[in-house]
Amino acid sequence: MKAIFYLVQKEFRQIFRDHMMVRIIFLLPLLQLFIFGYAVNNDLKDVRISILDQDNSVESRHLADAFLNSSLFIPGPAAHSPADLDDLIYKGKTDITLWIPNDYSSSLSVGQEAQVGIAVDGKNSNLGGRAGGYAMAIIRQEGQRLRDARMLDNPLLRAKMKEIKTATRFFYNPELVSRTYMVPGIVVLVVTIISGLLTGMAVVRENEIGTLEQLMVTPITSLQLIAGKTIPFMILAFFELAFATVVAVLWFKIPIAGSLWLLTGSSLVYLVVTLGSGILASTVSRTQQQAMFTVWFFLVFGILMSGFFYPIENMPMAMQWLTYLNPLRYFLSIVRGLFLKGITLSDSLPDLIPMALLGIIIFGAAILRFRKTVA
């Protein structure tokens, strides 16, 4: 037990004397939070709508007002023809358009179905889909109002919606996931990097300079050695977790709906996975660069296959199955759930249990391999 204390103390001394380490620990999370936090769009609001009202009647103005009075839409530039409307979208000057043709009120007055046209910017399907859905809801409401006023059974208003595909696509965040969704993900990322990457490198560094062999002729056991290597990075990871969470809550104003205990507890389970992976990577790497590369390789896969950028539901089926082997997927789901939905322990079990199983497997494998390679 005492030996573990000296191992941990030594590790902390080394960490804090290494400027690179200090930078990774303190600057990296801040950078990630701010780059990703600001690179992403806010939640849906201030969607620009351009309306072409060619009917210019009481009824048509009523419909246009229904849009402009909603909290979502703000007026975009005016248009003089339907072609103008499409043009505005292509030029990125507006996000959504509404075209009310000149037969709008006359169709309604003879009890015929009136048709309007809606076009959304398809540049990002998330925003387009959500804004379009909102527009259709307003149309439905207006149709309901008209029908109720005349005591008719069939709807009087119908909209034709089209999506205009413009070229631009965002590289880093194609779905323009909102910040509230992104920042909790970065919390996960920061914890993963600190615990997985640095542990692996710390073990390999000892191997490189030969101190690992020196430690193996002392009476300490390989389990004590693993404890001495993982405990410091576990402590650091918890520090990072707290730090990133505080930034998320205080700076980005993203409230945590769920319990902090669950966040701490599930992080502990997740750390078993990442610390184990770090040790495992160290057993297959001879140099720090190799260890870094190994961890990085799996990390990139883990991130891509976790739903961090790209929703798992939108992946091909085979990929979706693969994500079940990805511990990051589970922890991301728990942390997002905790922040956004306030999930409880029982809600988190479908993620927590497979994550714990993966942790046991990976850490167990790490211990076995570590024993084999160093002893």
């Binding site: 191992l7 300079i209 020196q214 002729v217 009476p219």
Partner: protein, 244 residues
């Protein structure tokens, strides 16, 4: 196994193969307590491999060895409490202070706090680093680093000390100083098992063995060996044996 109790180190046909290559070939050694035993051989002769087996870092392919009377095959963990080891690429933490290196190894060997304190200060003085306790280890000269490494490997007062080429790469004066430390330890009853390829250092040993390509070609006190092979010095003896 009683016959092993009298010896600090004894080996019986100790062998290590890497694939089809035999690095250490059935060597028989017997080192008496308190001896300075010189384990000589050219580069690649198998010295490090043999020492790593004796320290429990490497399992023998065949044969057995007893260190402080304990069989390494079954009591490797216990053996570790009886020995000190300074590896060929002697292993210090460059980013720790000199005193922190000593204290760390004291802690790892399970000494208690007061003991770590007193032992570190004592060893610091012994290896001539008393005014460099707070120096960053990386800033030490090679000679000082080697002496610090020696200090770290004896912090727990081992009965037997294994030194693998402890003086390689330093000037003759630093080497002489290092050997003075070895003598001091031996005087206090520590058995020293030291490898070297400097033949002048062989003269400082109570007994030596000379290893060539995995075999022990000669073993005995330096004077005895010189007489037996009719050579003026160890250098000559070594050349004779290698060319045989």
């Amino acid at each position: 196994m009683n016959d092993n109790n009298g010896y600090a180190v004894r080996t019986d046909k100790l062998t290590r193969r890497f694939g089809s290559f035999t690095a250490v070939d059935a060597i028989d050694l017997a080192v008496k307590p308190g001896e300075i035993f010189g384990f000589l051989g050219a580069n690649g002769a198998g010295k490090t491999t043999a020492i790593r087996m004796l320290c429990g870092l490497l399992a023998p392919t065949e044969g057995e060895a007893w260190v402080d009377g304990l069989p390494i095959s079954s009591k490797a963990e216990e053996v570790k409490r009886h020995i000190g080891y300074m590896s060929q690429k002697f292993s210090l933490y460059n980013d720790l202070h000199v005193i922190e290196n000593l204290e760390f190894y004291g802690g790892v060997y399970g000494l208690d706090k007061a003991e770590i304190r007193s032992r570190s200060t004592e060893l610091l003085a012994r290896v001539g680093l008393e005014d460099k306790g707070r120096t960053m280890t990386v800033d030490l000269s090679l000679g000082y680093k080697q002496r610090l490494a020696l200090g770290c490997s004896v912090i727990h007062r081992p009965n037997i000390l294994f030194l693998d080429e402890p003086t390689s790469g330093v000037d003759p004066i630093a080497r002489r100083q290092f050997w003075d430390l070895i003598y001091e330890l031996a005087d206090q009853g520590t058995t020293v098992f030291v490898t070297t390829h400097y033949m002048d250092e062989a003269e400082y040993c109570s007994r030596v063995s000379i290893m060539v390509a995995g075999h022990i070609e000669a073993m005995g006190a330096p004077e005895e060996l010189k007489t037996k092979h009719d050579v003026p010095d160890m250098q000559q003896l070594f050349i004779t044996l290698v060319n045989r």
